[in-house]
Assembly symmetry: C2
Homo-oligomer: 289 residues x 2
């Protein structure tokens, strides 16, 4: 089974436990809307690619880790889109969860997905319990506080933002969690893989800011120029377009160079190259070609 099928099947299995019986009906629909809406599954694919580079001997553990990470990512998008944050009605070209189901159900759907993430890890790792505690600790750190995406988002409420810490915690942290979890699930040392996640996460943040600045809503499936409207730091505004593209390429080079030289590492390097192509705004990738 290829990575994409493993991830989709595992997400369906996780959601089937949460929505069994279909009650309460609207909450079931809201969590399904949040998870199955053409996400690129970048973080879980990264997690599985690292696990595979490490031999992937415990596939139920790596699949569970990848699934938990994607559920947390989906939860963060649902909450980020809410009126008190980005106030975005559009996500991946469809109505965001609160636009489709209202604010109360969007808030609850996010909560439910966070809980389901840890529940899924516990369920799928029950037979290999010695990996469960480090996986939960690593994944929780990458989304919680002080170093995870919740802390990152909270920097937006401070008068003085530490921009580097803001980007590392808001975006790179879950990439670091994804690579670390992939290694831990395979009983390998996560340390060398964390650097890969860090550089790739930084690249991703630049790409996201570039897309926010130069793309159309139709191209990226969500509102553009949100950062300027919400008065949030944006790297592309700061460095300009050519400066940002150069910075993006530096981060990607660093990410690829950080990949340890192990037998299965080629597919990880390919994944990184593919992501960069996917993320570069169309008008820039043409001019760069």
């Amino acid at each position: 089974m290829d990575a994409t099928s493993r991830i989709e099947r595992s997400l369906e299995r996780a959601l089937s436990f949460a929505t069994v019986g279909g009650r309460p009906p609207l909450l079931c629909k809201a969590v399904q809307h949040a998870v199955f809406s053409d996400g690129a599954r970048v973080r879980p694919r990264l997690c599985l690619a690292v696990a595979e580079a490490c031999g992937d001997p415990y596939r139920e553990a790596s699949t569970a880790a990848a699934t938990a990470i994607e559920l947390l990512h989906c939860a963060s998008l649902v909450h980020d889109d809410l009126p008190c944050f980005d106030n975005a009605d559009l996500r991946r070209g469809k109505p965001s969860v609160h636009a489709a189901f209202g604010e109360p159900l969007a808030l609850l759907a996010g909560d439910a997905l966070i809980i389901l993430s840890f529940e899924t890890l516990a369920r799928e790792c029950a037979v290999t319990p010695h990996r469960l505690a480090p996986l939960i600790a690593t994944i929780a750190r990458s989304v919680g506080m002080p170093n995870g995406i919740v802390a990152g988002q909270a920097w937006e409420s401070e008068d003085r933002i530490d921009v580097e810490e803001y980007h590392r915690t808001k975006t790179a942290s879950l990439f670091m969690g994804a690579t670390a979890a992939g290694a831990i699930a395979a009983d390998s040392d996560p340390q060398p893989w964390i650097e890969v996640g860090k550089q790739l996460g930084a690249a991703y943040q630049v790409a996201d800011d570039l897309r926010d600045m130069v793309s159309s809503a139709k191209e990226i499936g969500k509102p553009c120029r949100q950062d300027a409207g919400n008065n949030q730091p944006n790297i592309a505004e700061e460095l300009g377009i050519s400066g940002s593209v150069a910075r993006l390429q530096e981060f990607v080079t660093d990410a690829i160079e950080a990949v340890p030289d192990v037998p299965g590492s080629d597919s990880l390097r390919n994944l990184i190259h593919g992501e960069v192509k996917r993320l570069m705004p169309r008008k820039l990738s043409k001019s760069a070609a």
Copy 2:
């Protein structure tokens, strides 16, 4: 160390990992405000009382379970108080988290506490991993969907509410989780203890609805007559005051009768009696005396 000290010390320890370095500053303050605001700690005390009735041989596991349950309870209060739900500016006689820190930080504080709950379980049970998976599964079920408090809260967004399911999931579920987790942490069968949690949770819901109807904001430290204002089901409105008091006493009797006859069960029965006294609105406890 008595139960109250164990719980407070463990909550402080859990929060110290989340707030180490004090960054981001306002989020640190918001989670501390949410957790240290004179909560009665009913659910963690219940969890520890069950663990003690079962001999409590693994105190780090029972303490972690009690702590995780209280963190989840605090998270649910922070999110429930938000404008899109109860819109309550007062909690335990102080400003609610969103009243003190704004809506974005209240939402993030709730998310952070949910994550911290599972992170704490993983950290404290790392040396006894075979208890970790069942504890997480049990606690996650009691707060998630379809049977936990998130699902319970989501029933309020449905046109047709199943009132029994609504009360069981919204309130009793976490009491059931607390008693079950106490038994699991002590390597005991949770099944007989779940019924204790179920009856006590039902009693608690009646008491809460009674207090909402007949108490003053000063007495209970939060706004009253919220249910009527928010058009939410309220048992006391439905049964009347004397009918509700009778129902409350039935549930308490059933809870006490459900307590298995083991050496340490007296302190659990005492806890239940004490809680009922605490929860009964003053004017009713006088007239009942």
